[in-house]
Symmetry: C2
Subunit: 452 residues, 2 copies
């Protein structure tokens, strides 16, 4: 008998929270380099029995004149958080464009070992041209090139994670046999972007493979997710749109021979919580009052790939100016969801700015409103769960944990305690076997030099 | 008044210790993936007031059929160790051939933040052709190419570590100013190997820059160390040879306009400790009895760049066959020190194997013998301190901490307690200013796109 379907919840840490002025309400405003700040978030998430904390990332500096952004390297920060938590999953973002598959596979597998099986890699391709300028490239590769590399990158990483079979580390003191070379496999990857002999220099990690997450909203991203990902993070602003996305990507996974339950669909959600609706609105208004409006307008225009002068506060978006095609230097997922939202709700630029644009759906409301909305999306198969944005950490998350989680538990759709120890167990995902352990899997030649 | 010269001691973690059969004496022989094992080492080092733990590294698997090797990624493991210690420094090895300077600078600076200023980067160029096969290269670049890249790589990393001035993070809640763009600098590096705009996306770390260590023994390595390194790790097997190396590299540092005390010379030392000489010899003999002699002979031959058939146990090394030139695929430092040792002490292959060849000087003896030897090298300016190898962790290190450290303290050459909190303070090194903070330093153009 299958266990009943259960909601999955991550908290998405971006800077000090999703509200651009949230940091101005913190006692310690330099918190982005303060382990205590992140410890409080992770421990609050664990108190709420959340599946995971999820670190966004970037590899170029932007916007730092006006507020915090991603700073500490994710695998390093997640390792520190593994030491101050026991159950909560640890999801880190890393780019396939600006990393190497051997180093990346090793880093995430190392965190998986040190966290006893709690890590996930959120694979992104990174459209930011400022990032390219930090990695000896004259500009970010175009989307097709980025995804071609990403496909092969993910393939290499998955092979490396499989390169040690589960029982390859013998460590038999009596015979002096340490690892069994017959169960440690060169991967002999010879592709267009990468030639990697392997094996990884690290025994198989507790989850078999770290959980793989994909977050791109484009066609190429969705295709990659359907093939390989255990979970997909997505920006969905309407219930119907989310249902359509959910049905589509599950069908694609099934078409790949996978079980629909083995690809979790987790849209972003940005709740602003108050004891009453008026309190929630006041909380948001207090933070909004601290915003630099000109900066926000400029940031919004840049994200849309247009000039700030083209935006008028009380007019609709200049749809004709916004290129919804495959530009390399913007997030097409952000543009798509923003345009969809603006059109469906007939919003002005001012309305959109009010929602702290970040592609994720905002609900300003009471715990009851928010819990009901979550239940509706979950039972309506618009989502398997959510990536929760907080307006500001840790208070935005604490409000969710203390007031929304108990309602979800009472509805019977969210765990009252952790039942497993690994993130795969929290997510209800099977532990994968190594592809090399199956005698029917394709044969891989050993390389005596590497295995002696 | 300058503080009196003080001894510096690191413990070098390679696998489960330097003796190839040491793992067969451990209760938990799978310890290379066990955080508790490394925690015990780091806490023992801290109990002994050692300057640092130092992780060797490799990015290809070798020898795993017969014993443990480097597995967990160093910056990740050091972060975990930062969480279970308070004072001891944390030195990680990473290759300039198989990494990217932006990612590496960010990882080490992140660990520096999370450890409150205790991290060092040991920069190596990696001669292992098996590593190249994991990074889409047909073979390791030759030594000249590796060091040309290493020079520029280190230059970029140091610039990125300087890219935020100390006081650039304002986080002024009242005005909404987060970072001061005038104190966050694009580095605009445009070199032969790398083009990196910067700045790093992380505020300046507690030590200003993580400590920089260099470990190569070749002419190019020594030249790089003299220019940039805060400490040099070196294989020295004779007192006179070590004195010569010490004098030479200090003179080179002074010739670069540096203070001689700001480049620490730390040779490797491999003590095997017993209450009596007989006990120490027995400890070693017990482990030697667990060795697979054929494997050791093959490993030794491979490290010398020759065939195992060319080695006869009771004959001298076949010096004529051993190429002491600049081969790309072996450690020339290892060959140099091994040949020097074999010639000076007139050793047979069996004698050399007895010393568990690893390029580092072995002393089998009592705490008194070992402390006296350390004092002689220290006061004779053959060393500023040592990288201590243990035969097996944690017992080999515990013996040193419990029995040798008190003797060194009584001699007045080693600290009785930590006096500072950062590794720079343990090492007696000044905290560097950002090169961009000096108005006389070369002007760097801002890049508005990256800094807005």
């Amino acid at each position: 008998m299958r266990a009943p379907r259960t909601l999955h919840l991550n908290t998405n840490i971006t800077g000090t929270g999703r509200h651009p002025a949230g940091w101005r309400t913190l006692d310690n405003a330099k918190s982005i380099i303060d382990l205590q700040f992140f410890t409080a978030i992770a421990q609050t998430a664990e108190r709420g029995k959340l599946d995971a904390v999820f670190l966004s990332d970037a590899v170029a500096l932007a916007g730092h004149a006006h507020g915090p952004a991603q700073s500490l390297e994710p695998t390093v920060l997640l390792t520190a958080l593994a030491g101050v938590t026991r159950h909560v999953g640890l999801i880190g973002t890393a780019s396939t464009t600006f990393n190497d598959p051997y180093n990346l596979a090793r880093c995430f597998a190392s965190v998986d070992h040190l966290s006893a099986g709690r890590v996930a890699w959120n694979a992104v391709t990174t459209y930011d041209p400022n990032a390219a300028a930090n990695f000896s490239m004259s500009g970010a590769p175009d989307k097709a090139a980025r995804y071609a590399r990403a496909e092969e990158f993910v393939d290499v990483v998955l092979k490396l994670w499989d390169s040690w079979e589960d029982d390859a580390l013998i460590a038999d003191r009596a015979s002096g046999r340490y690892a069994d070379p017959a169960r440690v496999h060169a991967i002999e990857h010879a592709g267009h972007h990468f030639q990697v002999r392997g094996p990884l220099n690290l025994p198989r990690s507790p989850q078999g493979r770290p959980v793989l997450v994909q977050a791109g909203g484009s066609e190429a991203g969705v295709a990659l997710a359907a093939r390989h990902a255990d979970a997909v993070f997505t920006a969905q602003t309407t219930f119907e749109g989310a249902q359509e996305f959910y049905g589509d990507i599950k069908a694609r996974a099934v078409a790949q021979g996978r079980h629909a339950d083995h690809l979790l669909v987790l849209p972003g959600l940005y709740p602003v919580i108050g004891g009453t609706l008026a309190e929630a609105r006041q909380r948001k208004a207090d933070m909004d009052a601290l915003l630099d409006r000109r900066t926000e307008l400029a940031k919004f225009a840049r994200a849309l790939g247009i000039d700030a002068d083209d935006l008028q506060l009380d007019a609709p978006l200049p749809y004709a100016l916004i290129d919804k095609g495959n530009r390399a230097d913007v997030s097409n997922g952000f543009i798509r969801t923003t345009v969809l939202l603006a059109r469906s709700d007939n919003l002005t630029v001012r309305d959109l700015l009010d929602r702290n644009p970040g592609a994720h759906r905002m609900i300003v409301g009471t715990p009851e409103t928010i819990a009901d909305d979550i239940e509706r999306w979950f039972t309506g198969r618009a989502a398997d769960g959510f990536n929760l944005n907080a307006d500001v950490f840790p208070s935005g998350l604490a409000a969710f944990v203390d007031h929304v989680v108990p309602l979800l538990q009472r509805k019977g759709i969210f765990r009252r305690d952790y039942e497993g120890t690994t993130l795969r167990e929290h997510y209800g995902l099977a532990r994968p076997a190594s592809r090399y352990a199956d005698p029917d899997a394709r044969l891989v030649e050993h390389t005596p030099g590497a295995l002696s």
